[in-house]
């Protein structure tokens, strides 16, 4: 098999894995929350049915909007999926490793955010504008913490390319003798992931109450296939962050070769890892209340300081 065909197959496999796994994660979190609240809850496969149904519905578009509004779901979907292709899932070496490192991933996700903010403003309703405004501040506070935690991780692995980080860690190369910088970066990145994917305590994906919603307010005017794509992209973003955390901090079990058995095991382990993280998020959402918007600053400040401490620890331990 020529390397190009092999790469294409791997990319296709990655796309299929990400697209199929993302609604499941959303369903799983909802199920966990329902059980904690002593409810039966919908099936974990409900999000698949939701997306399929939305695709078949006729979308309604506001008369005040411009072309930004219908274009945004596609841009958001494309940017999130592209970001997903840079993160290793079940094999440690993604074929698109060269096309972007972790900073590219951050900026690809930012591209989606940018257009989502614009779409929130486009319909002219005050809710959309409110969501956009809040998304802007949450994103601004998240990004510095994310960059610093990434740097702390990149230092231990000696790379900012995700596949390389994961591959090296999986083969136990370059992992620090003392894991404390790694752990601090992990904590920081976990907080960042909660903020970026709009989970409690930063945002509540289950609410449509004007005063509290952020992401839901921006997409309030969407319906039909546009909403389906946005929901799917939101699930994808969750999958991207969970894969990132799972594989960067616990890459064990990931396929480091292209042997069929290794890939099979890798797929299985990957599914278990991200399902575990999804359950963890579900539990956390039940344990904590959503923070007031201006208290989010403190939480993200903690993430920033943790990442900075991770960096400091790394240098002190090494010198």
């Amino acid at each position: 098999m020529s390397p190009i065909i092999q790469s294409l197959l791997l990319v296709t496999a990655q796309v299929i894995v990400l697209l199929t796994v993302s609604p499941f994660l959303v369903g799983l979190i909802r199920k966990v929350k329902a059980r904690f609240q002593c409810r039966q809850g919908a099936s974990v496969f409900q999000p698949y049915a939701d997306i399929a149904k939305l695709f078949r519905k006729q979308p309604v578009i506001s008369t005040t909007t411009s072309w930004i509004f219908p274009a945004t779901p596609y841009i958001l979907f494309a940017s999130t999926l592209s970001a997903g292709l840079l993160v290793p899932t079940f094999i440690s070496q993604t074929p698109l490793n060269f096309s972007g490192n972790i900073i590219a991933l951050v900026y690809l996700l930012a591209l989606g955010t940018f257009f989502l903010i614009l779409a929130g403003l486009d319909a002219g309703s005050a809710f959309g504008g409110m969501g956009s405004s809040r998304e802007a501040i949450v994103a601004s506070l998240t990004e510095p913490a994310m960059i610093l935690s990434i740097f702390a991780i990149a230092l231990t692995a000696g790379s900012t390319n995700l596949s390389t980080i994961v591959h090296k860690t999986a083969l136990l190369e370059g992992i620090a003798t003392d894991p404390s910088p790694h752990l601090m970066a992990l904590a920081a990145l976990f907080i960042v992931a909660l903020a970026e994917t709009g989970r409690v305590p930063v945002d509540n994906p289950a609410t449509h109450l004007e005063l509290t919603m952020i992401h839901e307010a921006m997409v309030l005017e969407y319906s039909g296939r546009y909403l389906a794509l946005i929901e799917w992209a939101a699930g994808l973003k969750l999958a991207v962050f969970l894969s990132l955390i799972a594989n960067v901090f616990a890459p064990w079990g990931i396929a480091t070769t292209l042997a069929p058995t290794a890939m099979g095991i890798g797929l299985l382990v990957y599914a278990v890892k991200i399902a575990g993280l999804a359950v963890l998020i579900g539990v956390l959402e039940c344990m904590f209340a959503k923070l007031r918007l201006f208290r989010v600053t403190d939480l993200l400040g903690v993430a920033f300081i943790l990442a900075l401490l991770g960096l400091l620890f790394f240098y002190i331990l090494r010198s």
């Binding site: 930012a110 403003l121 405004s133 390319n161 390389t164 201006f294």
Partner: protein, 674 residues
Amino acid sequence: MLNVLWVLLIGYAAGMVLPLYPRQLNTQSLTASICAIVATCAGIALGLLGLIAPEPVTLSIASTVPLLTFAIRLDPLAALFVFTISLVGLAAAIYAVGYVRHFQGRVSVAALGALFNGFLLSMTLVVLADNGLFFLMVWELMSLASYFLVVTEHEKADVRPAGFFYLVMTHVGTAFVVLTYLILFQSAGSFSFDAFRHPEQALPEGMRTLVFLAALIGFGTKAGIVPLHVWLPYAHPAAPSHVSALMSGVMIKTAIYALIRVYFDFLGGQFPWWWGFVVLLAGTLSAILGVMYALMEHDLKRLLAFHSVENIGIILLGIGAGMIFHTYGLNEFAALGLLAGLYHTINHAMFKALLFLGAGSLLYATHTRNMEEYGGLLRRMPWTGLFFLIGAVSISALPPTNGFVSEWLVFQTLFLSFQLPALFLKLMLPIAAALLALTGVLALACFAKAFGISFLALPRSAHARHAEEVPVAMRIGMGILALLCVGLGLAPMIVVPLLDRITAPLTGVSITDKVLALDGWAVAPGDVQFSSISPPMLAAMLILGGLLGLLLAFLFGGRLMTRSYKTWGCGINLSPRMEYTATGFVQPIKRVFSTIYQPTIKLETEFLQKSRYFAKQRKFEFHIEPVFEKYLYDPVIHIFMRIADRLRILQAGSLHLYLAYIFVTLVILLLFAV
């Protein structure tokens, strides 16, 4: 190549004279633009030739004034700036054909055209000059030409003080530039740049430090480094928009050119680590404060002016990191930092000029710069909207545009700091990277605001409701820059080798092979395993991802028609007054960063006499503290005013007294001469 240079010089010279003759206003501006177009095309060719030429090209004309020669030297560094100036000049000149129409009858179009050409010529000569005195002459000409352009609309009350402030600030800067050159002259014994490079006796350490500081203050004033940036948000908005594009896009970059010239060329790149650190600090401060003040602006052109401060900061981050690496002998990384800074210099020239031209188009169509009076313009001005969006995406450093590539390179340079020996710097550079991340995402928020409030939703005023698309010439001017924004982002494999020709002589190492991997398809400082991006690949992924979305929508939903319906306005018809305003949009940011803004908010409500529950009118006032003006500039101005008051005694108005002054001065000078 000299022929091309002559075409350029003659083109601009013609542009300074010819527009003054025709009677018809249209012909005047057309003549100015045609001359500028010819000259800028020559400039683009000259820049490209200079970048690939194996040896610098020189031209020297002796003068009768001692120490002054009209010497020109085109090396790769100068060539890059000639190229950038000419490219932005070309777009601005084409744009001017349409734009200047809205000045006709109000100001002298002929003078505007002539000054426009003079401004371009002086900027080109600033980067070409090879003699200190000649440099100072054209530097002053550049300042004066831009001053007269700023006060084009001098009949407006706010334009005159803006122009005066600029004139004062630029001359304070020039004083420091003169000081820089005088110190260099003292050791070199001549004003020729070649003598500066190889002085007769080496400068003592203290003098070198003085050169560093004087150059940073002098050129920093022009570049708009915080806290010397205060003139920018006044002067840039006051100028006609195509001139603002030149001032913000390229004039402030001549200062970047001069800084690199002085630090890396004249001083030979020999400096202690704290020089680089000071530059890095100035860069970080400018970047973060520039974007923060920009967020609070609702005057579109002032907002863009503050973003120039931010981007100068990002450029200085790259250069400062490069200087630090250079001190420690890590020349490959030093070259990378410089390359990142220079890449961002070109990119910023393109997208900032594009955005200023876009702002000019909005001004042309709506006659206001206040963002709160725009709205819904994307449907009325689709081309301007598209171009402005491309500019906004570029300045927010989002893939796959040019801003992303250069900002990514700056990030990588800062990340390579783990190779430095000093722990302090190892920690400071990543923090600078984190602040750069904050800057980047605040810029994103700011341009989401600028584009979203201006172009989307319902028009907020009659001006916006009646707006129409701008003339073709203006659209072409913006279109050229928009294409370049995308092109420069997709083609680092072309840009990087050209920039390497500049950084290689300055740092002593060529890094093209190191930075470009996989036949140029990926940019990978260090090696592909450490970090890489492939802008063409990212663009392909985005396009294919979008197509996949379309395919999925078709597969699962089939061909569905969409239905149009009005936005739900809680039961009443939606009106522009229900929309989020620019002020409202940034309110959370203002609140979170209130330590920096020190906002003053005043809300007065006047109630109806009959009932305390119904308001007759409400008055809302909000402004942020102009910290630098209040605590840094006002005291200085106050002192100068007091001194001036005292000195007024000298100016009694008597002619005899003045003659006596002249006599006394003459006697004193003669005493010195003896």
